[in-house]
Assembly symmetry: C2
Homo-oligomer: 281 residues x 2
C-alpha cells in the first residue's frame, strides 16, 4: 500500500493509505489527483492537499450551503465560486426557492475528473445551472446587484484560490449581491497558525464591505486539524433568526439524508470557543 | 528530524515532526514517551498514542471537567480515574466548592514523567488531593455513595483503559456516587468506526446504571480525526440547566485563561450532528 502525506504545520500531517491512484493530471492551474484510499473511499486532492473524501465530504458541503440557504427569505439567484467536484451544487439544488445558479470554476479538469470518478457525489446537470469555466475573481468583478447568495468554495489561500481571501475580491462580491444578499466562504482551520492572517483579512473584508459576519465551525476529519471554519456575512439577514431556525428544521425533515447540518447544530456551530473568537479581535 | 506516526483507521494517521525524545520508558503497563515536537510543544504518548500536546491539551482538560463541575450544585467530593499528567486535576482545583479529590492513577511512571517534563501543565500538590497508585476499576469497586463527581480520564479502550468502557465498571461508578452525583468519561471520536462498539457500550451502561446521559463534542487536533466526544451522566443534574449556564458564565469570567469551555460553548457542544446521534440509537 502506498501512502499519501499532507503536511500542514511544520512536519505535522495527515497520512492516508492509498490502494490506487485513479487519476493524476497536471492541469493549467494545479495537480489534480483522485486516490482510492483504504478507509475514506475515494479522495480528491489538488496540489497535494485533500479537497474531499467520499466518507466525510457531506460535512463540508452541507455546512457551506444550508445555513445561508435556510436563512435567506428567498434565495432565488445563487453564484458558486469553485466547487468543481459538484458537491456544493448538489446541496444547493435541494432548495426549491433556487431559480438560477451561476457556477464559476477555474479548472475544467477538476469537473471532468469528478464526473468520471465521483458519479454519485456531484450534481452537474441541474437545468437551473449555468457553468462558466473562468477565474471567479474576474467573473465576480463583472457582476452588479445580481445574487442573493454567493458561495465561495475555494481551496487553501495558496495557489489559484489565494485571491478569494483578499479585500478587493470581497468588495467585488459585495457589489455583486442583491440588497439583503449573503456571502459565505470556507475559511480554513482556526488551529493552523499560518492561515490566521488570511482568516483575519477575510473577516475584516466581510465586515467592512458587507457587515454582519458570522463565523462558524464544523468537524472535517481529513482537513488539517479536523476542525474547519466558515464565515457568513449579510447586512440584513440574521442566520440565527427564528425564520432561519424554522426553515432549517423543516428543510432537514424533508431531507433525512442530511447528516451534519441541523437547525440546532448550526446555531451551536456559531458558538466559538474563546481561542477562536480571539483570532478576529 | 524524526517522525512520530499514529495510525487510527486502516493506514490513516497523524504524523508529527519530532526534534527529540525527552523520555521513553516501558512501565509495568505501557510504553510512556515524551517527545519534543516541532509544532505542538511537548507531546505525551502512551503505547504510541498521543495523550496530549502542550498546545492543545487545554481543550480536553477544560471540557472533561468544567461542564460537570459547573452543573453540580455543590461538587465537594471528586474522584479522578487516570489523568496521570495532572491536567484534569489542574482544572478541578479551580472550583472553590471542591473539598476533596481522590486521584487514582494506575501508572506512577506517567505521573513522574509529567512532573519532570510538563512542570507548568499539571497540578500535583493541591492539599485537597489524595493520590492512589492503583487500578481505578479495583478502587471504584470498593467505594459506596462517596462522590459528587467521578471523572474518567482514561486512554483508548485498548490496553490498560479497556475496562473503563465496560458495563460492570460503570455500574460500580454508579454505586460510588452520592445521590445526585455525576459521571463524566472521555468517549473517543465519533468518526473512528472501530471504537463505535465501545461508545455504544459506554452510552448504554451510563443510561442503564445512572441515566440522563449527555454526550458532547470538542475539537482536539492531535487526537484521531480532530473531533472528540465525552459523555456526562446524572440521574438528577441537568448540565443544560440555567443554574449550570449561569455558574459556567461566572466561572469563566473569574478565569480568563480558559480558552475553550464557555457557558454557550458547552450547550453548543451537546448539539450533536445527526450522524453522531445515530451512533447511540
Amino acid at each position: 500500500m502506498n501512502r499519501f502525506d499532507e503536511w500542514y504545520e511544520g512536519q505535522t500531517g495527515l497520512t492516508l493509505g492509498v490502494q490506487e491512484v485513479l487519476f493524476s493530471e497536471q492541469s493549467d492551474y494545479q495537480r489534480v489527483e483522485i486516490l482510492q484510499t483504504d478507509s475514506w473511499g475515494k479522495v480528491l486532492t489538488l496540489d497535494g492537499l485533500v479537497m474531499l473524501s467520499e466518507y466525510d465530504e457531506f460535512v463540508y458541503h452541507e455546512m457551506l450551503t444550508h445555513p445561508s440557504l435556510c436563512a435567506h427569505p428567498n434565495p432565488e439567484r445563487l453564484c458558486i465560486i469553485g466547487g468543481g467536484d459538484g458537491g456544493t451544487l448538489r446541496e444547493c439544488v435541494k432548495h426549491d426557492a433556487v431559480k438560477s445558479i451561476d457556477w464559476v470554476e477555474i479548472d475544467e479538469v477538476v469537473i471532468e475528473a469528478s464526473k468520471s470518478h465521483f458519479p454519485g457525489l456531484g450534481v452537474f446537470d441541474d437545468p437551473r445551472t449555468t457553468l462558466y469555466i473562468e477565474d471567479g475573481i474576474d467573473f465576480i468583478a463583472r457582476q452588479s446587484a445580481r445574487y442573493d447568495i454567493i458561495l465561495i468554495d475555494g481551496s487553501d489561500p495558496i495557489g489559484p484560490a489565494e485571491g478569494l481571501f483578499e479585500d478587493h475580491f470581497i468588495q467585488a462580491c459585495a457589489n455583486a449581491l442583491q440588497p439583503g444578499g449573503i456571502v459565505v466562504s470556507q475559511s480554513e482551520s482556526p488551529w493552523v497558525k499560518k492561515f490566521h492572517p488570511n482568516m483575519k483579512t477575510l473577516y475584516n473584508a466581510l465586515s467592512s464591505h458587507i457587515g454582519g459576519v458570522t463565523p462558524y465551525l464544523c468537524s472535517i476529519p481529513l482537513y488539517p486539524t479536523g476542525t474547519w471554519s466558515m464565515m457568513m456575512a449579510s447586512k440584513t439577514v440574521d442566520p440565527k433568526s427564528s425564520h432561519a431556525f424554522d426553515t432549517a428544521k423543516a428543510f432537514c425533515e424533508m431531507h433525512p439524508e442530511i447528516s451534519y447540518f441541523s437547525a440546532e447544530g448550526f446555531r451551536a456551530a456559531t458558538a466559538l470557543p474563546p481561542f477562536v473568537s480571539r483570532l478576529f479581535t
